[in-house]
Point group: C2
Chain length 464, copies 2
């Protein structure tokens, strides 16, 4: 007879296996898959991975973990770039990727209710016949639960807002297993604290999202894409600033610098484009409205020396373009063998975009590292993917220095360290600089109120 009390994690694993059967696994390969996302953090193995399928299972599992003080790290598609899914205190990796039901679509109210494992692509596939779409589009094949947790946005946010503006309500399992409903079905409400927005962007540290009610949009009558290439990065950035200040309601306005463009041409076999600074644009509206918008932007880009404003009206050409844009991260990674990328994600007021982006470009050149620039520039948000070979710790050090420089400049310009990727492990040191100690203390106070035992995604957002 074993008289030694089992370790908390072991007790939890045994009880969780009762609950989930085979869907609770300690298999090494699966634990390794859940050791980190697409980031550069050092992977940590969870003690076990739980593939949950219902709210009740999440609730029972959290009750268990809460009782035993075992850490729980939610996991969606594992596409995080900031270490969100890295279970730094081991415990359970809570994999929600099998919760993929679309539970309701209310076409007449343009809303739907989904489980958190549904991806953007799956949802839009499902909705297409009804003339509706879900616009928030971070590019990767992430889950919508993960998008809520990290306050994601992407290429369409300039027109349709981020996930924050497109969630009507949530079902959330709290750290002790209680289940709450937030928000509702109405377009607006003044009915108590905004719990929905509290969970959006909380990165799994305040509760686990198990259902999401989304606001949908009608597929526009007309959509046109366009590509415009520029002699200099400066000309491209200033075209964006003028377009935004003119109030053109562009649906997408994405910038790729010459390095990123070369990567995309190679990786996605884009033909007919030069490896120079380039804008990818999309216009949504009525037939007449789309032409009006595109002509206005064409005039603006032409004023700034843009060349070859090429319209892609048919769906196939548009899809090829946006597929290339969405694969930009993989195109970067493919530029240099055996490498991972550190993705920066600064966002600044639009008037400071030229300073932030051209400054980042100079920093990259000085660093001697390979780091393409790509971004949702209509929102003032851009990424650099700093490439570092896996076996080059010195380059990694230089990469983090470069990262810091880019962030510091953005903060000095009234910007933020993260437009859409979140804080996770990678940006914790910047957060205090950005918000100040008192606001951070308020965030910590909320964390303690919501998760007194600190079991939910420990180590993320806060440094201790």
């Amino acid at each position: 007879m074993n008289t030694i009390a089992p370790l908390p994690a072991a007790a939890v694993i045994a009880a969780a296996r009762e609950l989930l059967g085979d869907r609770l696994t300690t298999n090494d390969a699966i634990r390794q898959q859940h050791g980190r996302g697409e980031d550069t953090s050092t992977p940590t193995l969870p003690d076990a991975v739980a593939f949950v399928e219902t709210t009740e299972e999440v609730s029972e599992l959290l009750k268990l973990c809460h009782h035993h003080g075992v850490a729980v790290t939610p996991f969606g598609a594992g596409t995080s770039l900031e270490g969100h899914v890295n279970p730094v205190r081991a415990g359970i990796s809570l994999d929600l990727s099998r919760m993929t039901k679309v539970l309701e679509v209310n076409a007449e109210d343009m809303d739907c209710l989904i489980e958190p494992g549904v991806t953007r692509q799956q949802l839009n596939e499902y909705l297409r016949d009804q003339g509706l779409f879900f616009p928030v589009d971070p590019g990767s094949h992430c889950t919508i639960g993960g998008m809520c947790a990290t306050r994601a946005s992407g290429t369409n946010a300039v027109r349709y807002g981020t996930i924050r503006e497109n969630v009507l309500g949530l079902e959330v399992v709290l750290s002790d297993g209680r289940v709450i409903q937030t928000g509702g079905r109405t377009r607006k409400a003044a009915n108590g604290y905004d719990l929905t927005r509290l969970f959006i962007g909380s990165e799994g540290t305040l509760g686990v999202i198990t259902k999401i009610r989304l606001r949908l949009h009608g597929i526009p009558e007309a959509m046109t894409a366009a590509v415009c290439q520029f002699p200099t990065l400066d000309a491209a950035v200033n075209s964006v600033i003028t377009t935004m200040q003119a109030g053109v309601p562009v649906a997408r306005i994405e910038l790729l610098d010459e390095v990123q463009m070369e990567a995309c041409i190679r990786y996605s076999k884009l033909e007919g484009y030069k490896p120079v600074p380039t804008l990818f644009l999309e216009f949504h509206g009525t037939e007449a409205g789309v032409v009006e918008q595109a002509e206005l932007v064409e005039a603006i880009t032409s004023d700034h020396g843009g060349e070859g404003f090429a319209w892609a009206r048919d769906a196939e050409a548009r899809n090829k373009l946006w597929k290339a844009r969405h694969d930009a991260y993989w195109a970067c990674i493919a530029l240099q063998a055996d490498s991972r990328g550190i993705a920066t994600d600064v966002c600044v007021p639009i008037s400071r975009l030229a300073e932030a982006l051209l400054g980042a470009k100079r920093d990259i050149e000085e660093s001697g590292l390979l780091a393409p620039i790509v971004g949702h520039v209509g929102d003032g948000n851009f990424h650099t993917v700093i490439l570092v070979k896996n076996d080059d710790p010195k380059a990694m050090e230089r990469a983090w220095e470069l990262d810091k420089k880019i962030v510091k400049r953005a903060l000095d310009l009234g910007g933020t360290c993260s437009g859409e990727h979140g804080i996770g492990l990678g940006k914790r040191e910047f957060l205090e600089a950005e918000h100040g100690a008192e606001a951070m203390a308020v965030m910590r106070g909320l964390k303690v109120a919501m998760d007194p035992k600190g079991i939910l995604n420990p180590g993320k957002i806060f440094r201790n």
Copy 2:
């Protein structure tokens, strides 16, 4: 020598007078003005009224009140319809209406930084020369600080969103006097908990807002108003539903029933209109876009039996129309001598609007009370102003019964008890029915974390 320790409030008043001089007053008339807003709650007198002018003063005053456990009830323009400014536990009424500075306008980023006492009208007056405007428009002469606190919206929300979507960041004084900055200047951010949204709609119970950074919008190239009158309420409501489902980006779509229309014709001397169910509309866009929208809506209303789709292109005609709409509440009150109004504020999914609104109409008719209907129907939000004579307690009882019926139906239809007025004192009992006990427990937990002594606007949102 007085050996009896002064009452906490008296000690605070003495110290606050040191701080504010004449701007701390115990004058009876001023205390009475701060006893309630435009609601029907029984007024309570604060011990004193503090007319603050700076963040530092608010901070010092809160430190004092926190130390002594004295209640603080923020006060803006006193236009609340739900008892928000009623100092039910006496203490200090914190009047922010003198904090009216516009601190920054960044035209190129379309944002501004203001103090909380600035009203919508003052701000738009200030901005006009720069081609910018602030769209959130609850109609009354409320302060923007009060709008933030109650998550206000109004006639333009259908197109431009509520205050929630139009605030970039806040400065907030916490219950113990600490000052924090939330949000920032960027259009989006994924940088930790969304403290901005936590304070918006918290009704002064979590902190006192002392600065507001707003998102502004460019004044549209073209604006047209239109009025359309209907044989039945049913026809008007169904025109709204079809318009919204067709995705027409109307800037305003307001419904007035025949009773409200008669009140407005009388009060605002509107000529050429019949006292029948009526829609007031406004379209914003390019010259061509506005015509396109208006023609589409004209066709929809005509299909539903609407008559006389009258366009008001010139600014004067438009302003007269919207002034009449904004004065709707006063037009109601003027309908019946010596009366106050209980304003309902339900909001439902657009597909359930006909059921909610026509059901409310039947309830009103059955009650025998006078209660015009007016609303921001594009958002599924409408008000009834139930008129009750000051000396008729029985009618007041019937009015509250009617109020309950209207709210219950809205909740049954997936709606909320408050689209934009907030909870205050008047809707606390509905809130738990709407959110459930667990979500309410989370809200209480946040309140305790942020205001452990319970000094900030006590008695609001929560029943105990």
